[in-house]
């Protein structure tokens, strides 16, 4: 949020450095504290302290989808208090209790005793198992809510810095209408990003697409793409694909995203996350619908083919 100005400014130096690095090598470095899964297709990196997803790369095309580690986010959830609805739990404020590579294909992550913005520490545990098998990255997560609060929503997985393959490459989101493969709705998300929510109720331009209407979502670049979706079409609750452009646009007249890594000292980045509206009652455990992700080469036809 804009109020976190110190935090944002502290990021800028890192961003400039990482931007310079990226300009030279394409992918940011992996530190010793990182935990990595990779195969021939994908490489995904998690920060061992925060559990944030900090890098994601298509190894075949070298599209670095998640680029700047400092913009990585682990998760976010909302647990309203009886006397105050605004009570998010921000992954950026949590320390993971476990980020462990179980095998070459699997990482376990866990966050416990979540520190909420206005409700103190909440007796909740979010556990995730991330697997990478034959280029398919799967996120399975479980929330143990031992608090007296209802958890309305969880954003997971959470990509804090979704990038186009190249600065000049447009990105488009394609989703189905009523799960009909022949009926696609396509919208640009880069370099133009039009806000689709009421400006009064958002800080940053925002788009959401309903998972129930499209069990997968294609993020398409010129000749490659990323498919993300659910494995089980009978998901028990509502979900959304969410795109959020930070810090905003050059102008509402042209809806252009700033073409640099930062504008006036503020990072420019596109967030992408899957929002699960779980409404987890107090003292319950909820298994989140598994989310799968894989990259593909070719146009959106290739993306659909992979879903079959």
């Amino acid at each position: 949020m804009p109020g976190n100005r110190i935090k944002i400014n502290s990021l800028v130096g890192c961003l400039i450095l990482s931007g310079l690095y990226f300009a030279c090598t394409g992918a940011p470095p992996v530190s010793a504290a990182d935990v990595t899964l990779e195969d021939d297709s994908l490489r995904v990196v998690f920060d061992s302290r925060s559990g944030a997803l900090t890098q994601l790369e298509n190894k075949r095309t070298h599209w670095v989808m998640e680029r700047r580690p400092e913009l990585g986010v682990s998760f976010r959830l909302f647990a309203p208090l009886p006397e105050r609805r605004w009570n998010p739990v921000l992954g950026t404020n949590q320390v993971a209790t476990e980020v462990k590579k179980i095998s070459d294909h699997e990482i376990h992550l866990q966050w416990k005793n979540l520190d909420s913005e206005n409700g103190g520490v909440l007796p909740m545990a979010l556990s995730a198992a991330v697997t990478l098998t034959n280029g398919v990255l799967t996120f399975n997560a479980t929330l143990e809510n031992n608090s007296a609060l209802t958890v309305e929503s969880i954003d997971y997985p959470y990509f804090g810095d979704l990038n186009a393959p190249k600065r000049a490459t447009p990105l488009t989101v394609r989703v189905m209408t009523n799960n009909a493969p022949g009926k696609f709705k396509s919208d640009e998300i880069y370099p133009h990003f039009a806000n689709e929510k009421g400006y009064w109720g958002v800080f940053w331009p925002l788009k959401t697409r309903e998972v129930q209407a499209s069990r997968f979502c294609l993020i398409t670049a010129a000749n490659e793409g990323l498919l993300i979706g659910i494995t089980d079409p009978s998901a028990p609750y509502r979900m959304q694909y969410t795109f959020e452009q930070h810090p905003g646009l050059i102008s509402s007249i042209n809806n252009l995203v700033p073409a640099e890594d930062e504008i006036a000292g503020t990072p420019v980045h596109l967030e992408f996350r899957i929002c699960h509206f779980i409404f987890a009652a107090p003292h319950t455990t909820t298994n989140l619908a598994p989310i799968l992700l894989r990259s593909y080469q070719g146009d959106w036809h290739s993306g659909i083919g992979l879903d079959k």
Partner: protein
Amino acid sequence: MKKHFLFAMGALAALVFFAAQVSAVASEVVLQDDKLSVAFDGDSGALTRLENKSTHWVIERRPELGVSFQLNALLPNHRNNVVRGQKQHAAEMVKVSGQEVRLQWKDLVSDQGEVLPMTLTALVTLTNGVLTFATTLENDSSLMVGSIDYPYFGDLNETSNGMPLVARYMWYGDLKSADIASAYAVESKQSLFCLIQSTNEGLYVAMHDATQPYLLRFAFNQRGPTKTETNPRHEEFRLSHVAYVHPHSTAKLAPIVLQSYVGDWHAGVDIYKKWRATWFKPAHLATWIQDVNSWQQLQIDSPEQDFRVAYTNLLAYGEECASNGVGAIQLVGWNHWGQDGGDPAQDIEPGLGTWQELRDAITQIQSRGVKIILFAKLNWADLTMPWYTNELYKYECVDPDGKRYEQGGYQYFTPTQLAGIGVHRRAVMDFQDPAYRDVATREFEKILALGSAGWLWDEVCHHASVYYNFAANHGYTPPGYLYGGDLPLGAQLRAAADKKDPDFLFSGEGPEDWLLQYFPCSYFRINTGSTPVCRYLDPQAPLMVAVTGFDDREMLNLILLDRYIISYEPYNFKGHLTDYPLTLAYGKKIDALRRQYKSYLWDATFRDTLGANVTSAGNFRYSVFMTATGKRAVVVINLDFSQAITAKVELPASGKLVMATPEQPDAQPTTGRLQIPPRSAAVVMEQ
């Protein structure tokens, strides 16, 4: 038989038309002057022909498609019961004078064959090209008449160039444009006039009653699916007075005025402007809002109870404004339950601090030369609040079946609200109800008590989907037209403010033109396609436009072009001014330029594109200002994001010209040939 008759008549009419000798037949009654000619059928009273004599635009062409009127006499349970003019014979049709015809229809026959004791009388006058329809309905029946469509043009035609007609009307600081080929209706709740605009001529059609007595619809309908003789395709245009004339009562309908003009929308709006001057009473304005000034909009809380900026932290924002020359803060979400929560209550939000803390913050900020303008809404009652359950339900609007109307509420911040879950829906309050107007006034007085320099009534421009309230016991015989309550409530609130401070500023979100009499400072949003009709109508009105982008030269250039006030709104009005320094810096340059050349860019008369010619191969816009001494200025903006343009400015009979820009404000001589970088503006001034 009737079809054959129509065909024959159609063929005859076509022959006459193609011979360009459309003349009045014996049974017609014709009014004409050197500008217009209008004919009525002697039997039915239908308007059968209308022509602009100077341009030869035959606006109403085929007599057989002429219609006199239509009304809807509602049966019990509000079922429709149509009375069509085609089934009536005029009881009287008298040419009272060379300029006036009186028409009357009596004992009207409905579609159901029932004869209704009603009399519709129309006085049609033509004076200097101005055609006026003054209509009265005597309803001696036991039925309520829901609507009367009069005058009724059964065959609205394009001009001779065959270009499509568009409807232009005022709404939200803009002159909207709508294709009339599809069914469309302009409504008097937004605009008192509708321009039927062709390429270079048009027809001004207006409701000449600015008090909002009832809803008038300027309704367009395409009829006839095919181009057959029996059912020819044609465009209908009718003025539908949704007047709800009670049983055994007489209603005088609002005058309808038509006038043709040559030119684009400026010529049509000029006609409105002339009439507007006869009734519009400009509001008193404090000095500060009349000078070059800019605002910041700042939201500090929402119904999701984020409580982002405590009252005690507001001073930092005020100081930031003061140090950047920003003269006012529109403070949003200061009231209980934040923006769009808890309406219409105007109490403070305990989650942000105390009443005294807010009062002190306002005082401290204003002492630094930055005005506080408190945002509020009085239109709705939050259904989640006990106040609604206990009291406000009494003032809510209901439909003909007695069911509550609702406004859907607005979504804020959390995924659940943004997905439409848990949104605060609202009942729609009845402004025609004097008791509710008193409730609203008491809430407004809470704003006055806080000592701010003004307020901004957000959504002052509408009542959601509600037009009429059908509830009983609201202080009048239902139904009541909600928009008719806007002016009385505006007057009541203004009176309350005047007791405390006549300089207290009333501002609103896109108030309709007549509401500007009480809400003279209008806030709205624009794009490159917006038409600055409010600025054209009133060159000095305080009109304000939002700037949200992080390097928003595009919006700022449009603001310079149309002399709008800047409203800085970083992070969709949730940030600090300094969150977007590039935008702030350019905005300051624009305001500095306007201060330096105030007589040209601020105090002058805005002429939009009239009075100069600007040409360029690039993507540009321009506007013309005329100073009090007759000197002209032309603002040219380059809308292209990456390409510079060359523009040639031509001012007829101009004196010596100089040029300045926001970045190079010192005037330099120019021939009028300008090089304008991408995303930039230049001003040419006549010395």
